[in-house]
Protein backbone atom coordinates (compact mmCIF):
# COMPACT_ATOMS: atom_id res chain seq x y z
CA UNK A 1 0.00 0.00 0.00
CA UNK A 2 2.78 2.37 0.94
CA UNK A 3 4.68 1.69 -2.24
CA UNK A 4 1.49 2.13 -4.23
CA UNK A 5 0.88 5.53 -2.75
CA UNK A 6 4.54 6.40 -3.25
CA UNK A 7 4.35 5.69 -6.96
CA UNK A 8 1.07 7.44 -7.64
CA UNK A 9 2.30 10.29 -5.48
CA UNK A 10 5.35 10.57 -7.68
CA UNK A 11 3.13 10.79 -10.70
CA UNK A 12 1.11 13.71 -9.35
CA UNK A 13 4.29 15.13 -7.89
CA UNK A 14 6.00 15.21 -11.24
CA UNK A 15 3.05 17.20 -12.57
CA UNK A 16 3.49 19.69 -9.73
CA UNK A 17 7.16 19.74 -10.68
CA UNK A 18 6.37 20.52 -14.31
CA UNK A 19 4.00 23.34 -13.35
CA UNK A 20 6.55 24.67 -10.89
CA UNK A 21 9.29 24.56 -13.53
CA UNK A 22 6.94 26.49 -15.81
CA UNK A 23 6.55 29.46 -13.51
CA UNK A 24 10.10 29.19 -12.19
CA UNK A 25 11.36 29.75 -15.74
CA UNK A 26 9.06 32.72 -16.11
CA UNK A 27 10.19 34.08 -12.75
CA UNK A 28 13.86 33.57 -13.46
CA UNK A 29 13.76 35.32 -16.79
CA UNK A 30 11.23 38.09 -16.16
CA UNK A 31 10.94 38.48 -12.36
CA UNK A 32 7.20 37.93 -12.70
CA UNK A 33 5.50 35.37 -10.49
CA UNK A 34 2.82 33.78 -12.61
CA UNK A 35 -0.24 32.88 -10.57
CA UNK A 36 -2.00 31.97 -13.79
CA UNK A 37 0.22 28.99 -14.58
CA UNK A 38 -2.57 26.58 -13.64
CA UNK A 39 -4.96 28.33 -15.98
CA UNK A 40 -2.49 27.90 -18.83
CA UNK A 41 -2.79 24.17 -18.12
CA UNK A 42 -6.56 24.40 -18.42
CA UNK A 43 -6.49 26.31 -21.68
CA UNK A 44 -4.06 23.83 -23.20
CA UNK A 45 -6.37 20.97 -22.31
CA UNK A 46 -9.44 22.72 -23.66
CA UNK A 47 -7.69 23.57 -26.92
CA UNK A 48 -6.83 19.89 -27.31
CA UNK A 49 -10.25 18.66 -26.35
CA UNK A 50 -11.95 20.97 -28.85
CA UNK A 51 -9.72 19.73 -31.63
CA UNK A 52 -10.21 16.12 -30.66
CA UNK A 53 -13.97 16.18 -30.14
CA UNK A 54 -15.35 18.95 -32.36
CA UNK A 55 -12.80 18.63 -35.15
CA UNK A 56 -12.29 14.90 -34.75
CA UNK A 57 -8.52 15.16 -34.95
CA UNK A 58 -6.43 12.20 -33.89
CA UNK A 59 -4.37 12.66 -30.73
CA UNK A 60 -1.02 12.66 -32.46
CA UNK A 61 -2.04 15.73 -34.49
CA UNK A 62 -4.06 17.53 -31.82
CA UNK A 63 -1.37 17.47 -29.13
CA UNK A 64 1.46 19.07 -31.12
CA UNK A 65 -1.00 21.61 -32.59
CA UNK A 66 -2.03 22.49 -29.04
CA UNK A 67 1.56 23.16 -28.11
CA UNK A 68 1.95 25.51 -31.05
CA UNK A 69 -1.28 27.32 -30.13
CA UNK A 70 -0.23 27.59 -26.51
CA UNK A 71 3.15 29.01 -27.44
CA UNK A 72 1.41 31.73 -29.39
CA UNK A 73 -1.12 32.18 -26.58
CA UNK A 74 1.73 32.69 -24.11
CA UNK A 75 3.31 35.29 -26.36
CA UNK A 76 -0.01 37.12 -26.72
CA UNK A 77 -0.60 37.18 -22.96
CA UNK A 78 2.89 38.46 -22.40
CA UNK A 79 2.36 41.19 -24.94
CA UNK A 80 -1.08 42.26 -23.80
CA UNK A 81 -0.72 42.13 -20.06
CA UNK A 82 2.59 41.03 -18.65
CA UNK A 83 5.04 43.40 -20.25
CA UNK A 84 3.37 46.29 -18.42
CA UNK A 85 4.25 44.68 -15.12
CA UNK A 86 8.00 44.87 -15.53
CA UNK A 87 9.63 46.60 -12.57
CA UNK A 88 6.48 46.98 -10.55
CA UNK A 89 6.19 46.27 -6.87
CA UNK A 90 5.85 42.58 -6.04
CA UNK A 91 2.37 43.09 -4.58
CA UNK A 92 1.23 44.58 -7.89
CA UNK A 93 2.68 41.72 -9.91
CA UNK A 94 1.06 39.13 -7.66
CA UNK A 95 -2.35 40.81 -7.81
CA UNK A 96 -2.09 41.27 -11.57
CA UNK A 97 -1.33 37.62 -12.28
CA UNK A 98 -4.05 36.58 -9.85
CA UNK A 99 -6.35 38.84 -11.86
CA UNK A 100 -5.08 37.16 -15.01
CA UNK A 101 -5.83 33.75 -13.55
CA UNK A 102 -9.40 34.81 -12.78
CA UNK A 103 -9.87 36.17 -16.29
CA UNK A 104 -8.48 33.02 -17.92
CA UNK A 105 -10.44 30.69 -15.67
CA UNK A 106 -13.79 32.36 -16.23
CA UNK A 107 -13.23 33.02 -19.91
CA UNK A 108 -12.63 29.28 -20.22
CA UNK A 109 -15.83 28.72 -18.26
CA UNK A 110 -17.79 30.99 -20.54
CA UNK A 111 -16.35 29.41 -23.68
CA UNK A 112 -16.33 25.76 -22.66
CA UNK A 113 -18.80 25.77 -19.72
CA UNK A 114 -18.08 24.74 -16.15
CA UNK A 115 -18.88 21.07 -16.76
CA UNK A 116 -16.40 18.28 -16.22
CA UNK A 117 -15.04 16.40 -19.20
CA UNK A 118 -13.07 13.19 -19.57
CA UNK A 119 -9.72 13.63 -21.26
CA UNK A 120 -7.93 11.05 -23.38
CA UNK A 121 -4.44 9.87 -22.55
CA UNK A 122 -1.73 8.81 -24.95
CA UNK A 123 -0.63 6.21 -22.43
CA UNK A 124 -2.35 2.85 -22.02
CA UNK A 125 -4.48 2.69 -18.93
CA UNK A 126 -3.81 -0.91 -18.04
CA UNK A 127 -1.94 -1.86 -14.89
CA UNK A 128 1.72 -2.72 -14.89
CA UNK A 129 3.27 -4.78 -12.15
CA UNK A 130 6.42 -3.41 -10.53
CA UNK A 131 7.46 -5.79 -7.82
CA UNK A 132 5.74 -4.56 -4.66
CA UNK A 133 3.03 -2.63 -6.39
CA UNK A 134 1.07 -2.20 -9.53
CA UNK A 135 0.96 1.07 -11.33
CA UNK A 136 -1.35 2.25 -14.06
CA UNK A 137 0.15 2.92 -17.43
CA UNK A 138 -1.00 6.49 -17.22
CA UNK A 139 0.88 7.17 -13.99
CA UNK A 140 3.95 5.47 -15.40
CA UNK A 141 3.65 7.50 -18.56
CA UNK A 142 3.39 10.72 -16.58
CA UNK A 143 6.54 9.98 -14.65
CA UNK A 144 8.43 8.96 -17.78
CA UNK A 145 7.23 11.92 -19.83
CA UNK A 146 7.94 14.42 -17.04
CA UNK A 147 11.45 13.21 -16.48
CA UNK A 148 12.20 13.15 -20.20
CA UNK A 149 10.92 16.69 -20.44
CA UNK A 150 13.06 17.81 -17.53
CA UNK A 151 16.11 16.29 -19.20
CA UNK A 152 15.21 18.07 -22.45
CA UNK A 153 14.89 21.38 -20.58
CA UNK A 154 18.24 20.85 -18.94
CA UNK A 155 19.81 20.35 -22.33
CA UNK A 156 17.95 23.36 -23.71
CA UNK A 157 19.22 25.72 -21.04
CA UNK A 158 22.76 24.46 -21.06
CA UNK A 159 23.32 23.95 -24.75
CA UNK A 160 21.11 26.13 -26.98
CA UNK A 161 21.70 29.83 -27.61
CA UNK A 162 18.13 30.76 -26.68
CA UNK A 163 18.47 28.91 -23.42
CA UNK A 164 21.70 30.70 -22.74
CA UNK A 165 20.07 34.02 -23.57
CA UNK A 166 17.30 33.29 -21.07
CA UNK A 167 19.76 32.51 -18.32
CA UNK A 168 21.73 35.63 -19.13
CA UNK A 169 18.64 37.80 -18.98
CA UNK A 170 17.70 36.35 -15.64
CA UNK A 171 21.10 37.08 -14.18
CA UNK A 172 21.31 40.62 -15.44
CA UNK A 173 18.83 42.19 -17.82
CA UNK A 174 20.92 45.20 -18.64
CA UNK A 175 24.09 43.24 -19.09
CA UNK A 176 22.36 40.79 -21.37
CA UNK A 177 20.99 43.55 -23.59
CA UNK A 178 24.43 45.14 -23.77
CA UNK A 179 25.88 41.97 -25.27
CA UNK A 180 23.15 41.81 -27.86
CA UNK A 181 20.44 39.71 -26.27
CA UNK A 182 17.01 40.95 -27.31
CA UNK A 183 15.37 41.18 -23.90
CA UNK A 184 11.94 41.60 -25.47
CA UNK A 185 12.39 38.43 -27.46
CA UNK A 186 13.54 36.54 -24.39
CA UNK A 187 10.47 37.68 -22.49
CA UNK A 188 8.17 36.49 -25.30
CA UNK A 189 9.96 33.18 -25.68
CA UNK A 190 9.91 32.64 -21.91
CA UNK A 191 6.16 33.01 -21.80
CA UNK A 192 5.79 30.81 -24.85
CA UNK A 193 7.82 28.13 -23.12
CA UNK A 194 5.95 28.60 -19.86
CA UNK A 195 2.61 28.20 -21.62
CA UNK A 196 3.79 25.10 -23.47
CA UNK A 197 5.03 23.52 -20.25
CA UNK A 198 1.72 24.33 -18.63
CA UNK A 199 -0.17 22.73 -21.49
CA UNK A 200 1.94 19.59 -21.37
CA UNK A 201 1.45 19.30 -17.62
CA UNK A 202 -2.27 19.71 -18.11
CA UNK A 203 -2.57 17.14 -20.85
CA UNK A 204 -0.64 14.65 -18.74
CA UNK A 205 -2.75 15.04 -15.61
CA UNK A 206 -6.19 15.67 -17.11
CA UNK A 207 -6.84 11.98 -17.87
CA UNK A 208 -6.58 11.22 -14.15
CA UNK A 209 -8.15 14.34 -12.64
CA UNK A 210 -10.70 15.04 -15.38
CA UNK A 211 -10.91 18.38 -17.04
CA UNK A 212 -12.87 21.33 -15.78
CA UNK A 213 -12.05 24.99 -15.34
CA UNK A 214 -10.98 24.41 -11.74
CA UNK A 215 -8.14 22.09 -12.75
CA UNK A 216 -6.09 25.24 -12.52
CA UNK A 217 -6.19 24.98 -8.75
CA UNK A 218 -3.58 22.28 -9.19
CA UNK A 219 -1.37 25.14 -10.21
CA UNK A 220 -1.71 26.55 -6.72
CA UNK A 221 -0.08 23.41 -5.33
CA UNK A 222 2.95 24.11 -7.47
CA UNK A 223 3.80 27.09 -5.24
CA UNK A 224 4.46 25.01 -2.16
CA UNK A 225 6.52 22.75 -4.42
CA UNK A 226 8.63 25.62 -5.69
CA UNK A 227 9.08 27.17 -2.26
CA UNK A 228 9.93 23.83 -0.66
CA UNK A 229 12.60 23.16 -3.25
CA UNK A 230 13.90 26.71 -3.14
CA UNK A 231 12.09 29.34 -5.13
CA UNK A 232 13.90 30.10 -8.37
CA UNK A 233 15.67 26.76 -8.51
CA UNK A 234 14.65 24.27 -11.18
CA UNK A 235 16.07 21.18 -9.47
CA UNK A 236 14.34 22.54 -6.39
CA UNK A 237 11.03 22.65 -8.24
CA UNK A 238 11.47 19.01 -9.22
CA UNK A 239 12.40 17.80 -5.75
CA UNK A 240 9.73 19.95 -4.15
CA UNK A 241 7.05 18.74 -6.52
CA UNK A 242 7.85 15.08 -5.88
CA UNK A 243 7.93 15.54 -2.12
CA UNK A 244 4.60 17.35 -2.12
CA UNK A 245 2.98 14.79 -4.39
CA UNK A 246 4.07 11.86 -2.28
CA UNK A 247 3.31 13.59 1.03
CA UNK A 248 -0.21 14.39 -0.11
CA UNK A 249 -0.89 10.79 -0.95
CA UNK A 250 0.57 9.49 2.28
CA UNK A 251 -1.29 12.08 4.33
CA UNK A 252 -4.52 11.18 2.60
CA UNK A 253 -3.97 7.47 3.24
CA UNK A 254 -2.65 7.43 6.77
CA UNK A 255 -4.45 10.46 8.18
CA UNK A 256 -7.94 11.59 7.21
CA UNK A 257 -8.73 11.84 3.51
CA UNK A 258 -9.47 15.54 3.73
CA UNK A 259 -5.94 16.24 4.98
CA UNK A 260 -4.68 15.44 1.51
CA UNK A 261 -6.13 18.67 0.14
CA UNK A 262 -4.27 20.84 2.58
CA UNK A 263 -1.10 18.80 3.10
CA UNK A 264 0.73 20.92 0.54
CA UNK A 265 -0.20 24.14 2.32
CA UNK A 266 0.71 22.86 5.75
CA UNK A 267 4.10 21.86 4.40
CA UNK A 268 4.38 25.31 2.85
CA UNK A 269 3.70 27.10 6.14
CA UNK A 270 6.13 24.88 8.00
CA UNK A 271 8.92 25.40 5.50
CA UNK A 272 8.29 29.16 5.46
CA UNK A 273 8.67 29.26 9.21
CA UNK A 274 11.82 27.22 9.57
CA UNK A 275 13.68 27.66 6.27
CA UNK A 276 12.03 30.09 3.87
CA UNK A 277 14.70 29.73 1.23
CA UNK A 278 13.78 26.08 0.77
CA UNK A 279 16.08 23.16 0.13
CA UNK A 280 18.22 24.60 -2.63
CA UNK A 281 17.65 28.28 -2.11
CA UNK A 282 20.04 30.93 -0.87
CA UNK A 283 19.25 33.31 1.97
CA UNK A 284 19.24 36.87 0.72
CA UNK A 285 20.06 39.82 2.93
CA UNK A 286 19.03 43.36 2.28
CA UNK A 287 21.94 45.77 2.01
CA UNK A 288 21.37 49.22 3.37
Amino acid sequence: MFFQQLLSGMAVGSIYALIAIGFTIIYKATDVINFAQGELMVWGCFFSLTMITSLSMPLWIAFPLTLIFMAMFGIIIQFLAIRHLVGKHIFSIVMATIGLSFVLRHLAGIIWTYDTFPFPSIFPSRQFSLGLATISGIHLGIIAASFSLMALLYGFFKLTSLGLAMRATQQNQFGASVVGVSVKRVFSMTWALGAVLGAIAGMLIAPIQFLDVNLGYLGMKAFPAAVLGGFGSIPGAIVGGLIIGVSENLAGTYMATWVRDIAAYIILLVILMIRPQGIFGIQEKKRV
Binding site: I33, A81, H84, L85, K88, I90, F91, S92, I93, V94, M95, A96, I98, G99, L100, S101, F102, V103, L104, R105, H106, L107, G109, I110, Y114, M220, F223, P224, V227, F231, A256, W258, D261, I262, Y265, I266, L268, L269, L272, M273, P276, K286, V288
Partner: protein, 338 residues
Amino acid sequence: MDIKTNYIDDIKIFEETSKLIWFLFFMVFLLFVPLFAGEYMVYMVSLTAIYVIVALGLNLLSGYAGQISLGHAAFMAIGAYSSSYLTVKLGLPFWFALPASGVITGIVGILLGIAALRLSGFYLAIATMAFAFIVDEVILNWVSVTNGANGIKLPGPSIGPLALKTDTQVYYLIIAITLIMIWAAKNITRSSLGRAFALIRDSETAAETMGVNLFKYKTIAFCISAFYAGIAGSLFAHFLKFISPSNFSLMDSIGFIIMILVGGIGTIPGSVFGAIFITFLPEGIRFLKDIFPFFVVETGLQGLVYGLILLVFIILEPTGLYGRWLIIKRYWENFPLK
Protein backbone atom coordinates in the same frame (compact mmCIF):
# COMPACT_ATOMS: atom_id res chain seq x y z
CA MET B 1 -0.99 82.28 18.08
CA ASP B 2 -0.72 79.78 20.87
CA ILE B 3 1.45 76.94 19.60
CA LYS B 4 -0.34 74.45 21.78
CA THR B 5 -3.73 75.14 20.25
CA ASN B 6 -2.14 74.80 16.85
CA TYR B 7 -0.91 71.32 17.60
CA ILE B 8 -4.28 70.27 18.91
CA ASP B 9 -5.80 71.52 15.70
CA ASP B 10 -3.43 69.40 13.71
CA ILE B 11 -4.35 66.15 15.36
CA LYS B 12 -8.10 66.62 15.21
CA ILE B 13 -10.03 63.88 13.57
CA PHE B 14 -11.21 66.11 10.76
CA GLU B 15 -8.16 68.01 9.64
CA GLU B 16 -10.15 70.30 7.44
CA THR B 17 -13.64 71.67 8.01
CA SER B 18 -14.68 70.45 4.58
CA LYS B 19 -14.12 66.87 5.73
CA LEU B 20 -16.39 67.45 8.70
CA ILE B 21 -19.11 68.82 6.45
CA TRP B 22 -18.91 65.86 4.10
CA PHE B 23 -19.04 63.56 7.07
CA LEU B 24 -22.18 65.22 8.43
CA PHE B 25 -23.81 65.04 5.00
CA PHE B 26 -23.04 61.36 4.92
CA MET B 27 -24.45 60.83 8.40
CA VAL B 28 -27.70 62.53 7.53
CA PHE B 29 -27.94 60.41 4.41
CA LEU B 30 -27.35 57.21 6.36
CA LEU B 31 -29.85 58.25 8.99
CA PHE B 32 -32.63 58.66 6.49
CA VAL B 33 -31.98 55.65 4.24
CA PRO B 34 -34.47 53.36 6.01
CA LEU B 35 -37.10 56.06 5.91
CA PHE B 36 -36.97 56.88 2.23
CA ALA B 37 -35.29 54.00 0.46
CA GLY B 38 -36.70 50.50 0.20
CA GLU B 39 -35.93 47.29 2.05
CA TYR B 40 -33.37 46.38 -0.56
CA MET B 41 -31.32 49.53 -0.06
CA VAL B 42 -31.34 49.01 3.70
CA TYR B 43 -30.00 45.51 3.09
CA MET B 44 -27.34 46.72 0.68
CA VAL B 45 -26.15 49.57 2.90
CA SER B 46 -26.00 47.24 5.91
CA LEU B 47 -23.90 44.79 3.92
CA THR B 48 -21.67 47.59 2.67
CA ALA B 49 -21.07 48.78 6.23
CA ILE B 50 -19.98 45.29 7.26
CA TYR B 51 -17.56 45.18 4.35
CA VAL B 52 -16.26 48.62 5.30
CA ILE B 53 -15.10 47.08 8.57
CA VAL B 54 -13.25 44.31 6.73
CA ALA B 55 -11.71 46.80 4.33
CA LEU B 56 -10.55 49.01 7.21
CA GLY B 57 -8.80 46.11 8.85
CA LEU B 58 -7.21 44.98 5.62
CA ASN B 59 -6.10 48.51 4.82
CA LEU B 60 -4.42 48.83 8.20
CA LEU B 61 -2.53 45.58 7.66
CA SER B 62 -1.70 45.76 3.97
CA GLY B 63 -2.12 49.41 3.03
CA TYR B 64 -0.50 50.87 6.15
CA ALA B 65 1.81 48.20 7.54
CA GLY B 66 2.56 46.73 4.14
CA GLN B 67 1.85 43.13 5.10
CA ILE B 68 0.15 41.42 2.17
CA SER B 69 -2.87 39.36 3.17
CA LEU B 70 -4.40 37.27 0.42
CA GLY B 71 -6.62 35.22 2.65
CA HIS B 72 -8.54 37.78 4.67
CA ALA B 73 -11.86 36.05 4.13
CA ALA B 74 -10.51 33.33 6.41
CA PHE B 75 -10.42 35.78 9.32
CA MET B 76 -13.97 36.82 8.57
CA ALA B 77 -14.93 33.15 8.54
CA ILE B 78 -13.32 32.58 11.92
CA GLY B 79 -15.27 35.51 13.34
CA ALA B 80 -18.52 34.31 11.80
CA TYR B 81 -18.18 30.72 12.95
CA SER B 82 -16.95 31.71 16.43
CA SER B 83 -20.01 33.87 16.81
CA SER B 84 -22.29 31.12 15.61
CA TYR B 85 -20.74 28.61 18.00
CA LEU B 86 -21.03 31.00 20.94
CA THR B 87 -24.65 31.89 20.26
CA VAL B 88 -26.07 28.69 18.79
CA LYS B 89 -24.10 25.96 20.57
CA LEU B 90 -23.30 27.73 23.83
CA GLY B 91 -26.38 29.91 24.02
CA LEU B 92 -24.46 33.08 24.83
CA PRO B 93 -26.00 36.45 24.01
CA PHE B 94 -25.05 38.40 20.91
CA TRP B 95 -23.62 41.40 22.77
CA PHE B 96 -21.02 39.04 24.23
CA ALA B 97 -20.46 36.95 21.11
CA LEU B 98 -19.68 39.96 18.95
CA PRO B 99 -16.60 41.25 20.81
CA ALA B 100 -15.61 37.71 21.78
CA SER B 101 -15.50 36.70 18.12
CA GLY B 102 -13.34 39.70 17.45
CA VAL B 103 -10.97 38.66 20.22
CA ILE B 104 -10.82 35.04 19.08
CA THR B 105 -10.04 36.11 15.53
CA GLY B 106 -7.51 38.61 16.87
CA ILE B 107 -5.69 35.81 18.66
CA VAL B 108 -5.56 33.76 15.45
CA GLY B 109 -4.25 36.92 13.80
CA ILE B 110 -1.44 37.08 16.36
CA LEU B 111 -0.53 33.47 15.57
CA LEU B 112 -0.41 34.15 11.85
CA GLY B 113 1.59 37.30 12.54
CA ILE B 114 4.18 35.32 14.49
CA ALA B 115 4.39 32.67 11.78
CA ALA B 116 4.76 35.31 9.10
CA LEU B 117 7.25 37.45 11.00
CA ARG B 118 10.23 36.83 8.79
CA LEU B 119 8.25 36.75 5.58
CA SER B 120 7.56 39.52 3.15
CA GLY B 121 6.39 40.11 -0.38
CA PHE B 122 5.66 36.94 -2.33
CA TYR B 123 6.37 34.58 0.56
CA LEU B 124 3.96 36.42 2.81
CA ALA B 125 1.36 36.40 0.03
CA ILE B 126 1.38 32.65 -0.42
CA ALA B 127 1.65 32.07 3.31
CA THR B 128 -1.60 33.98 3.85
CA MET B 129 -3.15 32.14 0.92
CA ALA B 130 -2.12 28.81 2.38
CA PHE B 131 -3.57 29.89 5.72
CA ALA B 132 -6.86 30.66 3.99
CA PHE B 133 -7.00 27.29 2.22
CA ILE B 134 -6.31 25.50 5.49
CA VAL B 135 -8.98 27.42 7.38
CA ASP B 136 -11.44 26.71 4.61
CA GLU B 137 -10.77 22.98 4.75
CA VAL B 138 -10.93 22.91 8.54
CA ILE B 139 -14.31 24.64 8.47
CA LEU B 140 -15.59 22.12 5.95
CA ASN B 141 -14.51 19.18 8.05
CA TRP B 142 -14.90 20.27 11.68
CA VAL B 143 -18.54 19.38 11.40
CA SER B 144 -19.28 19.34 15.12
CA VAL B 145 -18.54 23.04 15.37
CA THR B 146 -19.29 24.35 11.92
CA ASN B 147 -21.79 21.94 10.45
CA GLY B 148 -19.49 21.58 7.46
CA ALA B 149 -20.77 22.39 4.02
CA ASN B 150 -24.36 22.53 5.16
CA GLY B 151 -23.89 25.79 6.97
CA ILE B 152 -25.37 27.10 10.19
CA LYS B 153 -28.50 29.05 10.92
CA LEU B 154 -28.11 31.87 13.39
CA PRO B 155 -30.32 34.15 15.41
CA GLY B 156 -30.33 37.84 14.62
CA PRO B 157 -28.43 40.36 16.72
CA SER B 158 -29.72 41.45 20.09
CA ILE B 159 -28.81 44.11 22.62
CA GLY B 160 -29.22 42.73 26.09
CA PRO B 161 -32.63 41.08 26.34
CA LEU B 162 -33.98 43.00 23.34
CA ALA B 163 -33.79 41.00 20.14
CA LEU B 164 -33.73 43.41 17.26
CA LYS B 165 -36.84 42.66 15.28
CA THR B 166 -36.78 44.77 12.20
CA ASP B 167 -34.18 45.18 9.50
CA THR B 168 -34.13 48.87 10.24
CA GLN B 169 -33.07 48.32 13.84
CA VAL B 170 -30.34 45.93 12.73
CA TYR B 171 -29.29 48.51 10.15
CA TYR B 172 -28.79 51.21 12.77
CA LEU B 173 -26.85 48.84 14.99
CA ILE B 174 -24.51 47.89 12.15
CA ILE B 175 -24.00 51.54 11.19
CA ALA B 176 -23.24 52.44 14.80
CA ILE B 177 -20.66 49.67 15.14
CA THR B 178 -19.10 50.59 11.80
CA LEU B 179 -18.73 54.19 12.89
CA ILE B 180 -16.94 53.09 16.05
CA MET B 181 -14.58 50.96 13.98
CA ILE B 182 -13.88 53.87 11.63
CA TRP B 183 -13.17 56.12 14.61
CA ALA B 184 -10.72 53.59 16.03
CA ALA B 185 -8.99 53.21 12.66
CA LYS B 186 -8.66 56.98 12.37
CA ASN B 187 -7.13 57.10 15.84
CA ILE B 188 -4.61 54.48 14.88
CA THR B 189 -3.54 56.35 11.77
CA ARG B 190 -3.10 59.69 13.49
CA SER B 191 -1.07 58.26 16.36
CA SER B 192 2.43 56.86 16.58
CA LEU B 193 0.94 53.44 15.86
CA GLY B 194 0.05 54.46 12.31
CA ARG B 195 3.42 56.09 11.77
CA ALA B 196 5.22 52.98 12.94
CA PHE B 197 3.13 50.83 10.59
CA ALA B 198 3.91 53.10 7.64
CA LEU B 199 7.66 52.95 8.25
CA ILE B 200 7.52 49.18 8.60
CA ARG B 201 5.96 49.17 5.15
CA ASP B 202 8.46 51.56 3.62
CA SER B 203 11.66 50.46 5.30
CA GLU B 204 11.80 47.75 7.92
CA THR B 205 15.46 48.46 8.55
CA ALA B 206 14.85 52.14 9.23
CA ALA B 207 11.90 51.29 11.45
CA GLU B 208 14.01 48.94 13.52
CA THR B 209 16.87 51.35 13.94
CA MET B 210 14.38 54.00 15.02
CA GLY B 211 13.36 51.73 17.84
CA VAL B 212 10.29 50.03 16.38
CA ASN B 213 10.11 46.50 17.70
CA LEU B 214 9.19 44.68 14.47
CA PHE B 215 7.93 41.59 16.24
CA LYS B 216 5.59 43.59 18.46
CA TYR B 217 4.25 45.91 15.80
CA LYS B 218 3.78 43.39 13.02
CA THR B 219 1.92 41.16 15.42
CA ILE B 220 -0.21 44.10 16.56
CA ALA B 221 -1.02 44.89 12.92
CA PHE B 222 -2.15 41.32 12.27
CA CYS B 223 -4.08 41.25 15.51
CA ILE B 224 -6.00 44.47 14.87
CA SER B 225 -6.68 43.54 11.27
CA ALA B 226 -7.96 40.11 12.27
CA PHE B 227 -10.05 41.64 15.06
CA TYR B 228 -11.76 43.91 12.55
CA ALA B 229 -12.45 40.98 10.22
CA GLY B 230 -13.74 38.97 13.15
CA ILE B 231 -16.18 41.68 14.20
CA ALA B 232 -17.31 41.97 10.60
CA GLY B 233 -17.70 38.20 10.43
CA SER B 234 -19.87 38.11 13.50
CA LEU B 235 -22.06 40.95 12.23
CA PHE B 236 -22.24 39.26 8.85
CA ALA B 237 -23.34 35.97 10.38
CA HIS B 238 -26.12 37.46 12.51
CA PHE B 239 -27.20 39.79 9.74
CA LEU B 240 -27.66 37.08 7.11
CA LYS B 241 -28.76 34.61 9.79
CA PHE B 242 -27.10 31.83 7.80
CA ILE B 243 -23.48 31.12 6.93
CA SER B 244 -21.69 28.42 5.03
CA PRO B 245 -18.08 27.97 3.87
CA SER B 246 -18.95 29.33 0.44
CA ASN B 247 -19.40 32.79 1.97
CA PHE B 248 -15.68 33.00 2.68
CA SER B 249 -13.87 31.79 -0.42
CA LEU B 250 -10.71 32.87 -2.23
CA MET B 251 -12.94 34.97 -4.45
CA ASP B 252 -14.07 36.91 -1.38
CA SER B 253 -10.49 37.43 -0.23
CA ILE B 254 -9.60 38.80 -3.63
CA GLY B 255 -12.73 40.93 -3.50
CA PHE B 256 -11.44 42.52 -0.29
CA ILE B 257 -8.13 43.31 -1.91
CA ILE B 258 -9.95 44.89 -4.80
CA MET B 259 -11.87 46.99 -2.27
CA ILE B 260 -8.74 48.59 -0.94
CA LEU B 261 -7.03 48.82 -4.32
CA VAL B 262 -9.96 50.42 -6.08
CA GLY B 263 -11.02 52.50 -3.12
CA GLY B 264 -7.62 53.90 -2.39
CA ILE B 265 -4.95 51.88 -0.65
CA GLY B 266 -3.79 53.02 2.77
CA THR B 267 -6.61 55.49 3.31
CA ILE B 268 -9.73 55.37 5.43
CA PRO B 269 -12.15 56.96 2.95
CA GLY B 270 -10.66 54.55 0.43
CA SER B 271 -11.91 51.64 2.50
CA VAL B 272 -15.42 53.10 2.43
CA PHE B 273 -15.35 53.80 -1.30
CA GLY B 274 -13.95 50.36 -2.02
CA ALA B 275 -16.58 48.60 0.06
CA ILE B 276 -19.35 50.52 -1.69
CA PHE B 277 -17.82 49.61 -5.04
CA ILE B 278 -17.61 45.88 -4.43
CA THR B 279 -20.99 45.58 -2.72
CA PHE B 280 -22.77 47.36 -5.54
CA LEU B 281 -20.72 45.71 -8.29
CA PRO B 282 -23.19 42.85 -8.89
CA GLU B 283 -25.81 45.55 -9.38
CA GLY B 284 -23.57 47.18 -11.93
CA ILE B 285 -23.04 43.90 -13.74
CA ARG B 286 -26.77 43.25 -13.81
CA PHE B 287 -27.27 46.73 -15.23
CA LEU B 288 -24.69 46.11 -17.95
CA LYS B 289 -26.40 42.85 -18.83
CA ASP B 290 -29.61 44.70 -19.46
CA ILE B 291 -27.83 46.95 -21.91
CA PHE B 292 -25.69 44.27 -23.50
CA PRO B 293 -27.93 41.22 -23.70
CA PHE B 294 -25.20 38.94 -25.03
CA PHE B 295 -23.77 38.70 -21.49
CA VAL B 296 -25.97 35.70 -20.97
CA VAL B 297 -23.76 33.80 -18.59
CA GLU B 298 -24.32 34.61 -14.92
CA THR B 299 -21.86 32.36 -13.14
CA GLY B 300 -18.45 33.28 -14.40
CA LEU B 301 -19.04 36.97 -14.69
CA GLN B 302 -18.09 38.03 -11.19
CA GLY B 303 -14.73 36.30 -11.40
CA LEU B 304 -14.12 37.67 -14.87
CA VAL B 305 -14.92 41.19 -13.76
CA TYR B 306 -12.74 40.89 -10.65
CA GLY B 307 -9.86 39.69 -12.81
CA LEU B 308 -10.28 42.50 -15.33
CA ILE B 309 -10.53 45.12 -12.58
CA LEU B 310 -7.31 43.85 -11.04
CA LEU B 311 -5.47 43.89 -14.35
CA VAL B 312 -6.72 47.34 -15.29
CA PHE B 313 -5.95 48.81 -11.89
CA ILE B 314 -2.49 47.35 -11.64
CA ILE B 315 -1.43 48.19 -15.16
CA LEU B 316 -2.84 51.71 -15.21
CA GLU B 317 -2.00 52.28 -11.52
CA PRO B 318 -4.55 54.89 -10.57
CA THR B 319 -4.68 56.01 -6.95
CA GLY B 320 -8.11 54.54 -6.52
CA LEU B 321 -11.48 56.20 -6.23
CA TYR B 322 -10.41 58.23 -3.21
CA GLY B 323 -7.31 59.46 -5.00
CA ARG B 324 -9.42 60.52 -7.98
CA TRP B 325 -11.81 62.27 -5.56
CA LEU B 326 -8.93 64.21 -4.02
CA ILE B 327 -7.71 65.30 -7.43
CA ILE B 328 -11.17 66.54 -8.36
CA LYS B 329 -11.52 68.27 -5.00
CA ARG B 330 -8.16 70.00 -5.34
CA TYR B 331 -9.12 71.19 -8.80
CA TRP B 332 -12.28 72.84 -7.51
CA GLU B 333 -10.52 74.32 -4.49
CA ASN B 334 -7.94 75.99 -6.69
CA PHE B 335 -10.38 77.03 -9.41
CA PRO B 336 -9.91 79.28 -11.40
CA LEU B 337 -6.17 79.00 -10.72
CA LYS B 338 -4.66 75.76 -11.94
